[in-house]
Symmetry: C2
Subunit: 397 residues, 2 copies
């Protein structure tokens, strides 16, 4: 049916390549490219069957990207590289006339804002070129927004309160590691908290608001209000929301490690002079921390991510909880990566499928809640991330 170019060969790229390779009726040709071609080759070899071609590309370099895209001529570029590289890849897509999908919003290196403004600014360009750009199609952002769209479509007349809840109850057996790119992870969880209430953003100190939340099959876990990027597009696309928040679980030890990493200056994004070189501390930290892609082997336990919604249906107040639980060991058995990569890579694969099938294909730049959620969620059930609904339960909202 279609030809895809995957850029990025980390944990998420590994999952996307595995999943796409298993759906030949949709993904007839697949190329995997990254800065380090040997990583792509290793993934391709593990998948086998000559399903995956590989290539070397520096995703910071627009001319290199253009050359690769022009030579391979994909129908879609699936960007699972670093968020720093979203804009260079979007530029290359515009230049070559190819549609685009990613899983996390663009971040400039020098500030950690988690805002869509840079990518939304491409709206007119993609529209004029007749190309589709699908933003944030992982789990969160991604499935959480599609869950919200599904709730709005089928179960509510008005959404009023939204809590996105993200629990990782897994144990990787290491004293400290991040579940995805440490640079992005640490920047995300150490920033100030922020949530939407009554038409305005409310700021909190980092980790200022927290409480135990009860997760299905897991039980209560201390959960912290943090800012997460999908909130920005959700309050724009669902303007009836009176409040929208994002909660994530952290263990005490994880928070202690984060606090120390900040105290000692290793979370810094300003270069430090070292032996005549300029080194950004958090980039070096990434080099010494365990590689998130290698955590899978001994990772036990589940993730549970979902949306807790209160609103109106037929004039009555209603509560609704839609979620997926994903098991780290099962994810590892299938793709050789842990659940945090798995829950990001599977939705990216399905998003690409939606595009290639023509179901999510229209000129412009879109967040995933702007598309029809139904065919996506149907596939999600089939492709390893079954989801569940609870109606009219106590949601601690």
């Amino acid at each position: 049916m279609g030809k895809v170019l995957i850029i990025g060969a980390g944990g998420v790229g590994t999952v996307v390549a595995h999943k796409m390779a298993s759906i030949p009726e949709v993904f007839s040709e697949i190329m995997l490219a990254s800065r380090t071609k040997s990583k792509c080759d290793a993934i391709a070899e593990k998948i086998g069957g000559n399903r995956i071609q590989t290539a070397q590309v520096d995703a910071d370099n627009v001319p290199e990207l253009i050359e690769l895209i022009n030579s391979y001529k994909p129908d879609l570029v699936v960007n699972v590289a670093l968020p720093y590289q979203d804009l260079t890849i979007m530029d290359a897509c515009l230049e070559t006339g190819v549609s685009y999908l990613d899983t996390a919003n663009y971040e400039p290196k020098e500030e950690a804002k988690f805002e869509y403004k840079w990518q939304w600014a491409y709206q007119e360009k993609f529209k004029e070129a007749g190309l589709t750009a699908i933003l944030g199609c992982g789990f969160d952002p991604g499935v959480t927004s599609i869950f919200t769209a599904y709730a709005a479509k089928h179960h509510f007349d008005e959404l009023h309160y939204l809590d996105i809840v993200d629990c990782n109850a897994g144990d990787h057996g290491k004293p400290f590691a991040t579940n995805f790119n440490p640079e992005i992870n640490i920047r995300e969880v150490t920033q100030k908290g922020k949530y939407w209430e009554n038409g305005a953003w409310k700021l909190t100190e980092p980790h200022e608001i927290h409480k135990p939340l009860n997760y299905p099959e897991i039980g209560p876990k201390e959960s912290y209000l943090i800012y997460h990027e999908e909130l920005e597009s959700l309050v724009k696309n669902f303007p009836t929301l009176k409040r929208a928040r994002f909660w994530m679980t952290f263990g005490q030890e994880y928070l202690t490690h984060l606090r120390v990493i900040q105290n000692i200056g290793m979370a810094g994004i300003e270069p430090v002079q070292f032996k005549g070189m300029d080194i950004i501390p958090i980039e070096f930290l990434k080099a010494v921390l365990p590689n998130p892609g290698d955590l899978g082997e001994n990772y036990k336990g589940q993730t549970s991510i979902g949306c807790r919604i209160k609103g109106l249906k037929d004039g009555k107040e209603k509560t609704y909880y839609i979620y997926n639980n994903c098991d780290h060991e099962d994810a590892y058995k299938e793709t050789g990566t842990q659940a945090v990569s798995y829950t990001t890579g599977v939705p990216a694969t399905i998003g690409a499928m939606m595009f290639l099938k023509g179901l999510w294909k229209q000129p412009g730049v879109f967040n995933v809640e702007e598309f029809n959620p139904d065919p996506f969620l149907e596939e999600l059930n089939q492709r390893g991330l079954p989801w569940h609904e609870l109606h009219d339960v106590d949601l601690e909202l």
Copy 2:
């Protein structure tokens, strides 16, 4: 009276230069040299009066050291550079026929052992050359060993139990910083504990043994048994010791920071590949942590370091406690550095004075407890580090 070359322009070098400059009757000419000449120039300028000459030298480079020593022709080289550089400086002293003094034992970069074996191996060479090498003449090692020698000379017939106790009750107002070179500090306090008992070394896990000890003018502080280098020479030079231990105070936050620094790999001494370079994590950590030399300004509180001894005098059991308390603010007022640098630099200055006066001058390699403690301790009282004695008190030994 004499000409000295100081190598090393950190906190300790700053104190040594200040102190020596204030004693012109002993130190008639002073040169301060380090890898970065501008640091020497800044110290010299602050001292003023054209008392200090400065020079650039790479202390890892024996030919460069030889050239500098030959051109300046000092009577003594005072090494307050890094412990990694002890041997290159000793080699240069032998080559040029100049005596030597340092404040910390040689450490190879690749292993952290805190052993004197490498420097003791120079014994015959210094003897044959008719030169003196004075090892470990800071506070600990240094004054603690001289305190022990003084106790043995004046108050005991036999030393049986020795506890060296090192309390820093100061507060620098920063979330985390080390009081001296972070590389050496972290390697020292994260290693296994070790103490001497009944003729053998006993090993403990890091920080396994700890208890609150009571410090004069400070009160009780949780103190941890760690290995410290002077124990090695003291049990050799005072063979009646049945037990010798070293205790250091640490706050919970300091230990938490150390634990995390180890967990995340930033205490590592093996190179890590980063952007095509080999970078040693603990060296990069040093570049991001506060410079110990800059801690002085807001440092409040005291250090208290001393020796608690039990033994026999005239056939009766006796206890004895000899210690110095040093105030961070007073140290800063006098020299612009905090007490940890001050308590190291003042003894190095007095050791150099002992050599130049001919009181501690004999061919060979010596630890400070092998010399006459009396003239040294007399000077210590005069030069900013007055000491105190307590007899027959409960020493918690």
